[in-house]
Amino acid sequence: MAAVRGALFALLLLAGCGDALVPGDYGGEKKLLLRGKIDDATPALLLPTEVVRTGIFWNPRGVETPQALTELIEQPSNSRYTKYPGGFEWSLFDEPEPSQRFQMPNGGQYAFGVPLAYVDANSNRRWDPGEQFVADSPISAVLFVPAPLSAEDSPTGHSVDPGYYVILNDRPCSAPPQPPAEGDCGVPLGARCDVDRDCNGGECILGTLLPWPGGYCAIPEPPPNGCRPRQGALVSDPPTGKTWWMQACQHPSDCTRGFPYQCELTRGACLPSAHVTMVGSRDIQPKSFCQAPPPDGSGSPP
């Protein structure tokens, strides 16, 4: 018996050495994990199936608004079957192919894509003409940068390191003039909060079009006390027209609160933008990467 126990112990020791073996559904080292949900349209779409195919459709013209969705190119290897409606976790393993990237005159390149859901009527795991788009994301897009991009070349307006990113595609089309910000203000930008008084004179944001889990301390623009933080980033929310001073960032590591908070590249601020919300619709149309300010100009920073 001692010999048997010794052999089993040796086997267990052996089994602890080296890498973990992966099962058949291992898809590789993921480049990006998209987590979010698909909400049904109102009224409900009443699809013939509970499963739709979600994919990243790349725009070879970058952030330029396409004339039609058919100009976008699906990357089937990054597409998944997803329950509709329902939550999803969606790993991207493949980089966009060169034909799916936007080539700049100076040789730089990036890929800009939007998540779309469609009914894969023929079950061939790719979108075919005639297959119905049933959901898109109002505000989320995916950016892939193969090599460092300068702020001038970057569609986000900020320099970007190589990699995959979830970005917001609802930034104002024209950057509003930023008022001088030189104060310390004492507000813990980006900190958790339940009510405004948790933010030491700032505002506790609990919800916009994005979910703000845990609350988020920010300073509204214009600030009630006139103090604009020099370490903050001015972020506008086009749908609501509101603007806040939020926690500024340049790299993903600058934001430490975890999912869904991330360094949102188009704003240069830590925002809960990693959660991708898709919404069902009977009429999916191409979207512009930027959104014009409301006609009355409300919400624009002074």
Partner: protein, 524 residues
């Protein structure tokens, strides 16, 4: 080095004239299981004397009326009997050839026979035999240190058997054969139910010693056979035993001690090979009548009528025969059916002289799913097998390759395994096949490699495996056998936990699966 010389010597006898024992041949077979008070009682001395006397009657043609068997004899009785017999030979010879054969089995030392507390000096015994009026006198002593007597004055010791003793005792003279050299022990065997020496001498007289195929056993042939077989038998024990031979003769010619073809209630059994035969009475496991290694192929053995179990020990296998020997009949083993017993079976039955059999095997194998999504992979299994009396030990080397396409065919991959293991089995042998069951364990080196455009690094891991083992073997030809095995198995390794096709963590996995293999095993 010796064997060719004595074979040459024996071969020379073929051309010599041969003389059968005369009609007036007297045999005195003396024995006593008990020696001195401090000597351990023997078990088979009396039986040795009876066997020798019977062999001389049945195969040597000696009349029972001229045969004296003295069991539990004392020195005085022996002395009186031999002297009386000498007197009778003197009175009745009337110029006719006569022979006196004295056989002794019991305790002795360098000076005396030990007979239940009494002693008979070797010089006195030799003098009584020498003084006999018989024209041919043969003294056979089966006792410890009996070789001393071949150094007594008046006989020429043969320092080695190779000495050419060509027929010089036939017409007149004296020869002495002893079971061991001076200073050596003479040994008994429980298996043979007698001493090595007498057992082989009796078998020699039954025909096993017939070197020249003339159907007669000469003194030289009997001694040559007995010498070789006693040496071989004692070679398995702690002490070697070298029979000795000495002679003091006049005249030329060969003395024929036995003519097995002329036996009374005996039949003849023609053997096949010049290999070792174990002849047991009645059935397997019965008393061993003879362990013989005939001096040539197709030798004939004279056996009392009856049923026998005969085991023929060939280099590659044992053959077992059930034989009925009828008085006056002749059987040839070559024409009889037999059961073939391979050495691995013999080792496992603990019935072979050798205690292990080596083997090599090569098997193709398959296994159930171990990693989810990975189908049973073809495998090759090679190894070394060692059959031992109680179990069979195997060292195994296993190679396996599995491939897959990954989720939606996006990540083709290959999973290689190299396993080094040990298996312990207990075999049960049936007539048509052998069934084994046991355990196996192995250490496994895993490697997963991926192809395609995705980033998926090679994964190297060590793991273990253990399981049950059931095997069936069917002998094909020679040492080759068909081998099929299989059983349940558990492999132990670290397995990644995958969620949404990506690794989320890992844990120790021990999936339970099955495996099966089939192929050939070659026992050397």
């Amino acid at each position: 080095m010796r064997r060719p010389l004595w074979l040459f010597a024996v071969a020379c006898l073929v051309c010599a004239p041969a003389w059968a024992l005369p009609e007036q041949t007297w045999v005195v077979a003396i024995s006593n299981n008990r020696g001195e008070a401090n000597e351990l009682a023997l078990l088979y001395a009396d039986r040795d004397a009876q066997q020798f006397a019977q062999a001389m009657q049945v195969n040597g043609g000696v009349s029972p009326l001229r045969t004296v068997v003295m069991s539990a004899a004392k020195a005085e009785e022996v002395r009186d009997t031999i002297l009386a017999l000498n007197a009778r030979i003197r009175e009745t010879a009337e110029g006719k050839p006569t022979a006196l054969v004295i056989f002794y089995s019991g305790h002795a030392d360098a000076q005396s026979l030990h007979l239940a507390g009494s002693r008979l000096r070797l010089e006195e015994l030799e003098a009584m035999v020498r003084g006999s009026a018989a024209t041919v006198r043969l003294l056979v002593i089966d006792s410890c240190r009996s070789g001393t007597v071949t150094r007594v004055k008046g006989v020429r010791p043969a320092p080695e058997f190779e000495m050419n003793v060509q027929g010089e005792v036939a017409t007149e003279g004296m020869a002495i054969i002893t079971s061991s050299a001076a200073g050596e022990w003479s040994q008994e065997s429980d298996e043979l139910r007698g001493s090595f020496f007498t057992h082989h001498l009796v078998n020699a007289l039954r025909g096993a010693a017939d070197q020249n195929e003339d159907g007669r056993i000469t003194l030289a042939e009997a001694y040559a056979y007995t010498y070789a077989q006693t040496l071989r038998s004692s070679g398995r024990t702690a002490a070697l035993q070298h029979p000795t031979y000495a002679y003091d003769v006049k005249g030329k010619g060969e003395l024929v001690l036995a003519n097995p073809e002329t036996g009374g209630k005996t039949g003849r059994l023609r053997l096949v090979e010049s290999t070792t035969y174990i002849v047991s009475e009645e059935h397997e496991g019965g008393p061993v009548l003879a362990e013989v290694t005939p001096a040539r192929e197709a030798a004939t053995l004279a056996l009392p009528e009856g049923k026998y179990f005969i085991q023929e020990r060939l280099p590659t296998e044992y053959r077992e025969y059930d034989v009925n020997v009828a008085a006056g009949g002749e059987l040839s083993l070559a024409a009889l059916p037999y059961r073939r017993i391979r050495y691995d079976q013999l080792v496992r039955k603990r019935g072979a002289e050798q205690t292990s059999v080596h083997g090599l095997f090569l098997l193709g194998a398959g296994r159930g799913e171990v990693l989810p999504g990975e189908r049973g992979s073809p495998q090759v299994l090679a190894g070394y097998s060692l059959d031992l009396p109680w179990f069979t030990l195997q060292a195994r080397l296993r190679g396996a390759t599995a491939s897959g396409l990954g989720p939606e065919g996006q990540l083709p991959r290959r999973h290689d395994e190299l396993g080094v293991g040990l298996a312990l089995q207990r075999f049960v042998d049936f007539s048509a096949f052998s069934l084994g069951f046991g355990l196996l364990t192995e250490a496994v080196l895993h490697q997963q490699t991926f192809s395609g455009t995705r980033d998926a690094p090679t994964r190297d891991a060590l793991g273990g495996g253990f399981g049950g083992l059931i095997s069936i073997e069917r002998h094909l030809v020679g040492g080759l056998a068909l081998h099929v095995e299989g059983g349940p198995m558990t492999l132990v390794f670290r397995e990644a936990q995958v969620r949404e096709f990506a690794v989320q963590g890992d844990s120790l996995a021990s999936p339970f699966t099955w495996w099966a293999a089939g192929g050939l095993i070659w026992r050397l």
